[in-house]
C-alpha cells in the first residue's frame, strides 16, 4: 500500500469504521451508566440545592486551593495539556474545515504558528506527566495499563500532527495518514478506556454536586 492509498483509506473507510465504533460505544456506555439509576434520597433537600449539580460541573474545573498547593506540578501540567489539546483540536484551520464539512459548523482559525507553539507545549506537558507518573511512587503504584494506554492514545495524534505540520521524520502524506489513523484509534478506544472521562466527567460532577447540595454542603 502506498502512502496515498493509506491516506485515502484513513479519510474514507477508516474514518467510517472509527466513527461507528465511537458513536455506538459512547451511547452504549452512557445508557449503561444512566440505567444503573440511583436510590431515591428520601431526606428533605437543603435550601439552595437547585443549581448545585450544574454549578459543580463548572466549579470543579477550577483548582482547589489546598490540593493546588499539595500537587502543583500535576495541576500545572494537567491544565497545560488539556487547554493546549483543545486549542490544537479546535483552532487549527484544517481541523475546523473537518468540523465544517461534517457538521456544517465553522469558526475562525488561529494562526498556524500560534497553534504550533501551543501544540509543542502540550506535547512537553504530556511527556512531563508521564515522567512524573513513573517517578512518583504513589502515582506509579496507582497506575494501571489503562493509564499508560490512554496516555499513548492521546500522545499519538499530537505528536504525529506536530511532525506532519513540520514535514519531519516521514513524508508528509504518510505522516498525515498516520495522524488521521491515530485519531481514529483514539476514537475507537475512547468509550472503553479512561478516556471516556471526556463525557463521564460531566455526569459524575453533576451527580456529586447534586448529592452534596442535597445535604447542604458548601460547594
Amino acid at each position: 500500500m502506498n502512502d496515498m492509498a493509506l491516506l485515502l483509506w484513513a479519510r474514507g473507510p477508516g474514518l467510517q469504521i472509527a466513527l461507528v465504533v465511537f458513536i455506538a460505544g459512547m451511547l452504549l456506555k452512557l445508557f449503561e451508566i444512566f440505567s444503573l439509576g440511583r436510590k431515591k434520597d428520601l431526606s428533605t433537600p437543603r435550601p439552595g440545592k437547585a443549581w448545585s449539580g450544574l454549578k459543580t460541573i463548572f466549579s470543579r474545573s477550577l483548582p482547589d486551593k489546598t490540593l493546588l498547593k499539595r500537587s502543583f506540578p500535576t495541576y500545572l501540567m494537567g491544565y497545560t495539556f488539556h487547554i493546549g489539546f483543545f486549542i490544537a483540536l479546535l483552532f487549527l484551520a484544517p481541523h475546523i474545515e473537518l468540523f465544517r464539512n461534517t457538521t456544517g459548523l465553522g469558526w475562525p482559525a488561529l494562526p498556524g504558528a500560534l497553534v504550533d507553539g501551543i501544540s509543542l507545549l502540550t506535547i512537553v506537558a504530556l511527556l512531563l506527566m508521564l515522567g512524573y507518573r513513573l517517578y512518583h511512587p504513589v502515582k506509579r503504584f496507582l497506575s494501571t495499563f489503562d493509564d499508560y494506554a490512554s496516555w499513548a492514545l492521546t500522545m499519538a495524534p499530537l505528536l504525529s500532527g506536530y511532525l506532519a505540520f513540520h514535514h519531519l521524520l516521514l513524508p508528509y502524506t504518510q505522516m498525515l495518514a498516520l495522524h488521521i489513523l491515530s485519531v481514529e484509534l483514539l476514537l475507537v478506544c475512547m468509550p472503553f478506556t479512561k478516556l471516556f472521562h471526556t463525557v463521564s466527567l460531566f455526569i459524575s460532577r453533576w451527580y456529586n454536586g447534586d448529592a452534596l447540595g442535597h445535604k447542604g454542603a458548601r460547594l
Binding site: N2, D3, M4, A5, L7, L8, R11, G12, P13, L15, Q16, L19, V20, V21, F22, I23, A24, G25, M26, L27, L28, K29, L30, F31, E32, F34, S35, L36, G37, A93, P94, H95, E97, L98, N101, T102, A109, L110, P111, G112, A113, H167, P171, Y172, T173, L176
Partner: protein
C-alpha cells in the same frame, strides 16, 4: 530510423553552433534541476551520446500526454530532444500507419533488442483478457509484455500509465492497471501527472541521453528532481497558509488577495510535482497562480480522493449515514443493557428479605 551518429554531430549537421549546443545543455541542466557547474560535463556527454531508439506505446489514454509534449516550448527544446531520440514507433505522431507502422515497431524491437527505451502512456485494461483496448488486433496487455522484453527501461508517462489514472478510478470497469502492476523485471520511471509537465517528460529523456542511466527515483518510481517536493512546499501562497489566511470562496476578498486555497480543496500538501516551480505553458503560471487549488493529479488514485473542492482534512466519503447507523446501534445496544440492568435490580429487590437484629443474632448463634 536510428543510426550510429552521435548527438553532437547530428545537431551540428542541423546547423546548430557550439554556442547553441552549450545553451541547449544549459537549458537541459536547468530542466534536470542540475547545477550550472555541470553544464560542461553535460555538454561533453551529450556531444558523444548516441541516439537511442524509442518505442512509444499508447494504451487506454486520451492522447493528452502526447499533446502536452508536442505543444511545449516548440520548436527548440523538446523539438531537439525529439530529434535527438529516434522515435521508431508512436502511432499518433508517426507518418506510417496500419501494417507499416506495426512492422516498423517490430523491426525496431528486433534491431535494438535490449537497448531501446519504451515509453508508455495510458493504463492497461486487464479484465476479460484485456479486450477493452487493442491495437492492430493485439491487446494492450500482450503488446506491453512483448515490448517490455527487449526494453532497456520503461518510462510510464502520465498518471494513467504510472498509477492507473482515470480508467483505474472507481468502479474501474475495464480492470485498468499501471505499467508497474504488470511489468516487474524492468526499471520503470513514472512520470506522473494528468498530463505531466512537458519539460518533465523531456527532462527525463535528457537525463537518459546525458548519463545513459535513469534518474534517482522516489518510492513511487518518480524522478526526484521533479517530484521531490510537494506543490505546497514550493507554493508562493504558503505564507498565507502559515498565517491561517484562507480564501473561503473563489470570489471573496481572500481569493482576490491571493490567500491560500486549502479550504477550497487544494491538494498541494500531498501532491508531489514540479508545477509550482516549473509551471505550465512555457513557464507562464500554474493552477494555484490562476486561483484554483491543486487537484493532486500526479498522485495515485487522485480521482477517488474525494471532491476536488473539499479540504484535504475532510472525509472522502459522507459520514452521516454511518453515524446514524452507529447511533441506532448504540441506542439499541444501550437499551438492551438498560433492560438487563433493570431486570437484575428488580430481581434483587424482589429477592430482598428484611432482616432484624434478632434474625442476625439467631443466625450467628446457629453457626456457633
Amino acid at each position: 530510423m536510428s543510426d550510429e551518429q552521435s548527438l553532437g554531430a547530428l545537431l551540428r549537421e542541423q546547423g546548430i553552433s557550439r554556442r547553441g549546443f552549450l545553451k541547449f545543455c544549459g537549458a537541459m541542466a536547468s530542466l534536470m534541476a542540475l547545477p550550472g557547474s555541470m553544464v560542461p560535463a553535460i555538454a561533453a556527454a551529450l556531444d558523444k551520446a548516441l541516439r537511442p531508439s524509442v518505442i512509444w506505446l499508447s494504451f487506454q489514454e486520451c492522447t493528452g500526454c502526447t499533446e502536452s509534449l508536442t505543444r511545449s516550448h516548440s520548436p527548440t527544446l523538446e523539438g531537439l530532444i525529439l530529434n535527438a531520440i529516434s522515435l521508431d514507433y508512436h502511432h499518433t505522431l508517426q507518418a506510417a500507419s496500419g501494417e507499416a507502422a506495426e512492422a516498423a515497431r517490430e523491426a525496431a524491437m528486433k534491431q535494438f533488442f535490449g537497448k531501446y527505451l519504451l515509453i508508455v502512456d495510458g493504463s492497461i485494461p486487464t479484465k476479460d483478457g484485456g479486450v477493452y483496448s487493442t491495437i492492430a488486433g493485439v491487446s494492450n496487455l500482450d503488446m506491453l509484455h512483448e515490448a517490455a522484453k527487449g526494453a532497456a527501461a520503461i518510462v510510464a508517462v502520465g498518471t494513467c500509465a504510472a498509477f492507473g489514472g482515470l480508467p483505474h478510478a472507481n468502479p474501474n470497469p475495464t480492470g485498468a492497471v499501471a505499467v508497474s502492476d504488470i511489468i516487474r523485471d524492468k526499471p520503470i520511471i513514472n512520470v506522473s501527472g494528468c498530463p505531466p509537465i512537458p519539460v518533465v517528460i523531456t527532462g527525463v529523456l535528457a537525463h537518459y541521453l546525458t548519463f545513459g542511466t535513469l534518474p534517482e527515483l522516489d518510492d513511487l518510481g518518480r524522478p526526484k528532481a521533479f517530484y521531490g517536493e510537494s506543490i505546497h512546499d514550493r507554493c508562493y501562497r504558503r505564507p498565507f497558509y502559515d498565517q491561517g489566511k484562507f480564501a473561503k470562496t473563489f470570489d471573496d476578498e481572500g481569493a482576490r488577495n491571493g490567500w491560500c486555497l486549502f479550504e477550497l480543496g487544494c491538494k498541494g500538501p500531498t501532491t508531489f510535482n514540479a508545477c509550482a516551480t516549473t509551471k505550465w505553458n512555457q513557464g507562464t503560471s500554474f493552477p494555484i497562480e490562476s486561483g484554483h487549488g491543486c487537484l493532486g493529479c500526479s498522485e495515485p488514485n487522485f480521482w477517488d480522493a474525494g471532491s476536488f473542492y473539499h479540504a484535504l482534512s475532510t472525509p472522502i466519503t459522507p459520514v452521516g449515514r454511518a453515524a446514524a447507523v452507529a447511533a441506532a446501534a448504540g441506542i439499541v445496544g444501550g437499551a438492551a443493557i438498560a433492560m438487563h440492568n433493570r431486570h437484575v435490580k428488580a430481581a434483587a429487590r424482589s429477592g430482598h428479605q428484611t432482616v432484624t437484629v434478632n434474625d442476625l443474632e439467631q443466625a450467628s448463634g446457629e453457626t456457633k
